[in-house]
């Protein structure tokens, strides 16, 4: 079974009497000024979003944007100042201690930035940690732990201690630990930021594979745009405690909400993200070099428009033609900001 | 194995042992736990084991060891000797964890006498030990021989003679050295009231006093100090007592009143024995024996010399002496 998440009007203000700042105009004052006057820092303001069951929702932002606070508020590791959170049918914000423990033990698990492995425990005992807290007996949780370790490619290493592993392996253990409790929702707090680029890619693949296999709802925090685009069904861009844009990778890259986001996505190879459906011209009968579905990424039609002067026909899922993409449109996507110059050059 | 649980488990075992000990103790006679060692199972008709205090000087150890030898051999009473500070001894007598102490110096324990023997009645006076004790002023024999004037206090009134006793601690005046400051001392008053050009300096402990004596003896340097009889050091180093003005009634009265006018010699102290109030009921034979127990100064010194001079084990020294003095022992029984 999978579960969705709904968050509404979520605020977090650190500092004394933070609740008085919620929704007040003061909250919009510059951070330094506000801190000097009130001793408070607004980490998160009026966040609202929903994650549907099985979706991978990525929150992207630079350090200090409030994304780590957000993911911790979801299970109330940090108490939100205002707002509501529900995970599945559980009202997290209203939950009492027992309900909260129940939620953390059975429904949600988390993967941490610096792995957070317990150095005094073997891998098996690290992975079985959540089950242990739940009260699962020893032999059962060992079996479960071995099985999950196998799943993340660390089979047979159960008796090692964390300090005998490389960083990548350690985070596999972190992943295994989160999987072992068989949660409905998995939270990732910048899990791969401490890893080498190559290993990071590996781990991202691992997450993709796992998502395909187990289909959990995932909330993934990162400061790496490429990672966000790779993993996210939808991406939220966070800045100064606010969501500045929420959308599919395509929407974010294709139509940035403001200059901040535009700046961010400037260097992204847009053709890898944007699908032909987003740039197609209305359908008109004629000759086409080939036919593709509308979700095809632009880069996949580059070869066709390069080898022929004819445009590419675009059809929807059911095969009904919905539009066409010509060479110029493809070049526009690839060239990015300099689109006007291209048009000018083309027309002259 | 996980360390956390081991630490916890160790702690739990510790707690358990403590708890068990505490519970077990409720059923027992609380006194029995305090007679520490012992317990090798003597025949029941023999006397309850007792504990004698030995305070930290040889004479006290001599008394306790001699009494132990006789008590164990003649009365079948097992004796534990507890080496303990003299002030703490009174608290031990009070709660019965110590049954008797055989040498109390009255000068230092007038208040304890009043508190425990007179007021509370938890301790009883079981008579004199025998030796008299005398505190006084002493100088090394070599110095006395060279300057016979210094064998009386008038000699110290002479600035020149007194200044021989100068040290860095005493500045321009001659030094008068006192050992453990907790001991009885009228020396400051005596110096002031006799107008002697001396400065009262505290060595801090008996050990300090003893090293000073040995040093003076070895180097032939002048030294004036408060010392007393009996003490084991007299058998090793020759000291001469300085004559002070005779003890008078006014003098004793000013000591009692604490008016600071004391200006005479120290009175002679009669050493006495004290027992826990419960001893008589607990082991009557031992109580009677200890009440009769007496040693003369010479006898005590003889045994002390075996211990301090010949490096003999105290128990062994006591046994040797008892074997050789059956008639003295018979009088106690």
């Amino acid at each position: 079974m999978t579960t969705g998440i709904a968050v509404d009007g979520l605020w977090k203000v650190f500092g004394p009497k933070g609740e008085r700042l919620v929704g007040s105009p003061d909250a919009d004052r510059p951070r330094r000024e506000l801190e000097a006057d009130t001793g408070c820092v607004v980490a998160m303001r009026d966040i609202r979003f929903a994650v549907s069951p099985g979706e991978v929702f990525v929150v992207m932002g630079l350090s200090g944007s409030g994304k780590s606070t957000l993911v911790r508020c979801l299970t109330r590791l940090i108490e939100p100042t205002a707002g509501t959170i529900s995970i599945g049918d559980i009202d997290v914000t209203a939950a009492d201690t027992d309900a909260l423990l129940e939620l953390r033990r059975h429904r949600v698990s988390m993967v941490f930035q610096h792995f957070g492995l317990l150095p005094h425990r073997t891998l098996v005992d690290n992975v079985g940690f959540g089950l242990e807290l739940r009260g699962v007996d020893k032999s059962e949780r060992r079996q479960a732990a071995e099985r999950v370790l196998e799943l993340v490619g660390l089979g047979g290493m159960g008796q090692s201690k964390p300090d005998q592993l490389s960083g990548g392996q350690q985070q596999r253990v972190g992943l295994a630990r989160a999987l072992a409790t068989d949660p409905d929702v998995m939270l990732f707090d910048e899990p791969f930021s401490a890893l080498d680029p190559l290993i990071r890619r590996d781990m991202q693949d691992e997450v993709c594979r796992l998502h395909a296999d187990v289909g959990k709802t995932m909330v993934f925090i990162t400061h790496d745009l490429a990672e966000a685009l790779r993993l996210g069904d939808r991406i939220a861009i966070m800045r100064d405690g606010r969501f500045v844009q929420v959308g599919t990778p395509e929407e974010v890259v294709g139509s940035p909400a403001d200059d901040y986001v535009r700046n961010f996505v400037r260097d992204v190879p847009r053709s890898h993200v944007i699908s032909v459906g987003a740039i197609m011209a209305p359908h008109s009968p004629g000759d086409y070099v080939t036919t593709v579905v509308s979700t095809t990424k632009v880069r996949d039609v580059v070869g066709h428009v390069a080898s022929s002067d004819l445009p590419v026909q675009v059809v929807d899922e059911s095969g009904v033609p919905v539009g066409s993409v010509d060479r110029l449109a493809v070049l526009e996507v690839i060239a990015g900001d300099d689109i006007h110059e291209i048009r000018a050059a083309a027309s002259s | 194995m996980k360390r956390s649980t081991r630490v916890l488990r160790l702690l739990m075992v510790g707690a358990l042992v403590m708890g068990a000990a505490a519970c077990g103790d409720d059923d027992e006679d609380p006194k029995s736990s305090e007679t520490t060692t012992g317990g090798t199972g003597e025949a029941p008709e023999e006397g309850e084991p007792i504990t004698l205090a030995a305070n930290p000087w040889t004479g006290s150890m001599v008394n306790a060891q001699v009494a132990k030898v006789v008590l164990e051999a003649e009365l079948g009473t097992e004796v534990t000797i507890s080496e303990v500070d003299e002030n703490v001894t009174w608290e031990g007598l009070d709660d019965g964890s110590i049954d008797a102490v055989l040498e109390v110096w009255p000068s230092g324990h007038a208040e304890d006498y009043a508190t425990y023997i007179d007021d509370k009645g938890s301790v009883v006076d079981i008579g004199k030990l025998g030796p008299s004790a005398k505190i006084g002023w002493y100088i090394p024999k070599a110095v006395a021989d060279e300057y016979p004037a210094l064998t009386t206090w008038e000699g110290f009134a002479d600035d020149e003679l007194a200044s021989m006793f100068k040290t860095a601690e005493s500045g321009d005046l001659g030094q008068f050295l006192m050992g453990d400051p907790s001991y009885v001392s009228y020396d400051e008053q005596i110096i002031a009231n006799l107008e002697l050009p001396l400065k009262f300096v505290v060595a801090g402990s008996e050990a300090g006093l003893l090293t000073a004596i040995q040093d003076a003896d070895a180097n032939g340097t002048p030294l004036l100090l408060q010392f007393w009889q009996p003490h084991w050091l007299h058998s090793k180093v020759e000291l001469v007592e300085v004559e002070l003005p005779e003890v008078t009634d006014e003098c004793l009265a000013s000591a009692e009143a604490g008016d600071g006018l004391y200006a005479c010699d120290y009175p002679v102290d009669e050493l006495y024995k004290a027992a826990s109030a419960g001893l008589e009921a607990k082991n009557t034979a031992a109580f009677d024996f200890l009440s009769k127990f007496q040693l003369t100064t010479d006898q005590q010194n003889e045994i002390a010399a075996m211990i301090d001079g010949d490096e003999m084990d105290p128990a062994e020294a006591a046994q040797t002496w008892v074997d050789a003095n059956a008639d003295v022992v018979a009088a106690w029984l």
Partner: protein
Amino acid sequence: MPRGLVPVVVFAIVGLLLAQTGSEVPEGFDIGLTDWMQDRYKWTVLNDDHWMFTRFFHPIGDALGSTYDFVLWVLRALRWPGVLAAAAAIGARTGGWKAAVAGSMLLFGCGVIADWDNTMITLALMIVAVVVSLLIGLPLGIWSARNVQVESILRSVLDTAQVMPVYVYLMPIVVFFGIQAPAVIVATVIFAVPPAVRITNLGLRSVPVVTEEVGRSFGSTRGQLLRKVQLPMARPTILLGLNQVIMMAFGVVVIAALVGSGGLGQDVLTGLQKIDVGKSFAPGLALVFAAIALDRISTGQRTVSVRRRFSMPTWWERPRVALTVLFGAVIGVGVAATLLGADTFPESFTVDISQSVSDAAKWVTDHLATGVPVVGGTKSISDFFLLNFLNPMQEAFIDAAWWVVVLVIAAIGWASGGWRLGVLCGGCFVAIASLGIAADRESVWDKAMITLAQVLVVVAVSVVIALPLGLAAGRSDRLNRFLRPVLDTAQALPQFAYIVPVLFLFPPGRTPGIFASIIYAVPPCIRLTSLGLREVPVGPREAATSFGATPRQEMMRVQIPLALRSVMLGINQTVLMALSMVIIAALVGAGGLGLEAVFGLTKKQVGRGLTGGLAIVLLAIVLDRVTQAWGRDRQRSAADRHR
């Protein structure tokens, strides 16, 4: 008014007010603590059938007594081979073969140089005291790690417990809990609990936030978090605390002999009373051995590499089996020893080192005390030192109007750590002034000034000695290796063991006290200075070298500034060590507050002892906080400079 003037004005006003009282502490200042305490003590002695004692304190005392009896019974029943086997077995479990060998060999050494049964008596006392200290200290440490208020309250209580001389409270403890083992254990626990609490707290607080979050995110309750995450993570730190607890506990052993503990402490004390260096040194050394043995087998110090290199048989990794095997082996050795009649430690193994130590001491005395060419020997050095340094200094402190001293101290506090510290320092000194007149008609204030002068001299000399040595040891591995055991022994030897040797070298008075204190106070300063240098990260040093710094420049500009905090901590420790030696100094003729505290036991003037002890604590608070502030300040300014 400019901000900088405010403190000056405040000082001037307070100074004017205090100056009205005259140069001596006014009599009206006496809060009468001495008499009040003495009356309470008297009441206690006369009313020990009150339910508070019969229902509470006496049963605790009895329980401690019987626990001790039981432990001693076990140790004796195991016979000496069994005890060695037990030490090896426990050591093997906690720290592998190294700890096993170290533990049992050290205990064996105790038997060789001192009396085995007395070692067992001391060991039994210490085991019980250490376990009780942990039973009290760990929960308190956990509590203070969770609650800031508890932490700050406990901190001042623990500081007091650690600085207050045992002499002060030994007599009340005897009245409350009974003589012998119970009193010894309680006194030891009071002294040994502070490091247990402090380091448990520190350990728990240093657990990384992320691991705690991990625990919580998987649904740990507070209890689970503590048991499964925080305590195991804090374990290395807590073990370090255990080491401190053990060392502290052994520090009380000799004083404990005063209340009839027997054991090695009594042997040291007997040697002392007979001024026999050899006789007090051998059991003193055995105490050091026993302390280190207990430390090695309990804290283990297991390293991963040891485990990997020497693969243990498989049953070893199964705790239940391993424990059973070891337990059985220990019992087996004990039974075998009993059957073979190995009841007492064989005399043929023992070595009497007391004579050679005495001879060595005599040689030193003969050659150093007098007759050394030019300087004339330690005795004349002592005289010179007293006349030219200590006397003028002490007189300056005593002659200065008391309010001037208060103001100066407050100013020093203010300059070191801001107005709060200034107020604290001034307040502590006013509190000392309010303690009134001691029984010998001198004021506690004057005695405090005597002690302060001596402590300052000790600290100054110690720092002068320790800094160069520490710097050298920080740079030379060979010197460091040579110094370490020397320093360890100097600190682990019972303080009392210093009394006789220093009396041989110096005439009774303040010099032997100061000398003994210096020996005791120098090691932490050397150690922390050397440690500080060694811990300077490679980065800045490499950077300095790459910019062409000479080794000397690198040392002066990089290493020493970066090591300053550690050095300051060393000075702070030196101050506290010097204060802890005040009692010993008093016993060799230094007078001052130490003597007042001694009276609490030796004259049963409990009130007087407490007053003296309290004054020591107040002095300690001032000196501790000021030196701590130096450490912090320097570091901050260094950091600012780097920015």
